[in-house]
Symmetry: C2
């Protein structure tokens, strides 16, 4: 059996997220599996993603792997994938990897971007790829919020998990903010993220920047672990999975 | 009666083009008229665009005007337009102009952009905003083709018009090419363009760049005025109306 690693880019606006739901072909996973079955002439192919992405969220570098006995060349596989996939899902790289490679278990860290459009006049082109939040944002306060979030903490209060038997302690290595015209570009790098964690951290940073939450709200959420003390869950449309890191 | 000038941005991928078709609300004009009637409480409003744009083509600066007796402030009108328009159609500017201003008759020149994606691996994000044409393009030949097209010529052979009672002589002031990563960005500025003229000039420049047409094809089309001697009509999805110039 060959083990094939895919690096995938997708515009999530038309899809219900990464994870296949029954036979739905409104998911990224479902679309890719459908095309792989067809071009590799296999009855069943299951691809393993590095993790889920939400309905409407995007990826520049989602990673997945699958097993096949088909001997098709990697170049041919790339060509056929991109010929038959819809044009908002692209196989950027197709590689053969050792049998033990597992896209989810072996992922060491991930990088996400989140985009905020803060001009009063919205954008026709960025509307499905950013969050329209035309507030007067205090950059310095947002930088301070990022510094408070970086490091190793129990992030359960910054997630949509009710309870968890597994550890909810995570380490965030980097959060940065860049302005690109009317877009604010936030980058998050960490070893792992809980359910909705980037979107809730992001909502908290924004509400602190807009003066709707005090900076101390972050300490509060770490101390009391109460989701309601954090900021809003910002919409998925501004979220991009940029890169998955492996050893 | 007040005369209101709109500067409009739209992502055309979901629409049948600018011009209203009966009661269809799959056109940009139809969408905007529908919202204006609602917010200004008028039975009939007709907006006059600077010109049509094709199904699937985009605009960063389409201009239109309409008459109304409603005394609503321009700020309020902007706010309500952007609240009720779909998020891929944006009113960027709303101004009051002299009664004689006519968005079509007074337009002195237009600027268009066309984007070509020439990397073998397509883009999930640019797929509806560029033409995927992964050929080995000779930049120098394309520059020469642009130089040949600039100036005053009878462009009927570069249009989809069969015949025309009106003059088909036009002046092109500028055609330029810039590379932006994997995108080639072509800019066209001229006093006016015939039906499909940008898309056919663009197809001709690309086929010359790819070695599928000789540079002399352009002289041929000017001399013999035969559409079939020019290049393909490239798809509308790569076309943007950037700006309309008035005195």
């Amino acid at each position: 059996m060959r083990n094939i690693k895919l690096t995938i880019e997708y515009d999530g606006r038309r899809y219900l997220g990464w994870q296949r739901l029954g036979d739905s072909d409104k998911t990224i996973q479902g679309k890719i599996e459908g095309v792989l079955k067809q071009i590799l002439e296999e009855d069943e192919i299951e691809i393993i993603g590095s993790g889920r992405t939400d309905a409407g969220a995007h990826a520049r570098g989602q990673v997945a792997n699958f097993k096949t006995e088909n001997e098709m060349s990697l170049a041919k596989m790339t060509e056929l994938l991109n010929r038959y996939l819809p044009r908002d899902i692209i196989a950027k790289k197709v590689e053969e990897v050792p049998d033990r490679f597992h896209a989810r278990y072996n992922a060491k860290a991930k990088k996400y971007s989140y985009y905020v459009w803060d001009n009063m006049i919205p954008s026709a082109f960025e509307g499905f790829h950013s969050f329209y939040y035309p507030e007067d944002l205090d950059m310095e306060k947002m930088q301070q919020a990022c510094q408070k979030l970086i490091g190793t903490h129990d992030f359960i209060g910054f997630s949509s998990l009710k309870k968890s038997k597994k550890s909810t302690v995570r380490t965030i290595d980097e959060i940065s903010i860049d302005r690109e015209g009317d877009l604010l570009h936030f980058t998050f790098v960490g070893e792992g993220f809980l359910y909705n964690m980037v979107r809730i951290m992001m909502g908290t940073i924004l509400e602190i920047g807009a003066g709707k939450l005090p900076l101390s709200a972050i300490d509060e959420v770490f101390a009391k672990k109460v989701r309601a003390d954090a900021g809003m869950t910002v919409p998925a449309q501004g979220l991009f999975l940029d890169e998955v890191y492996y050893n």
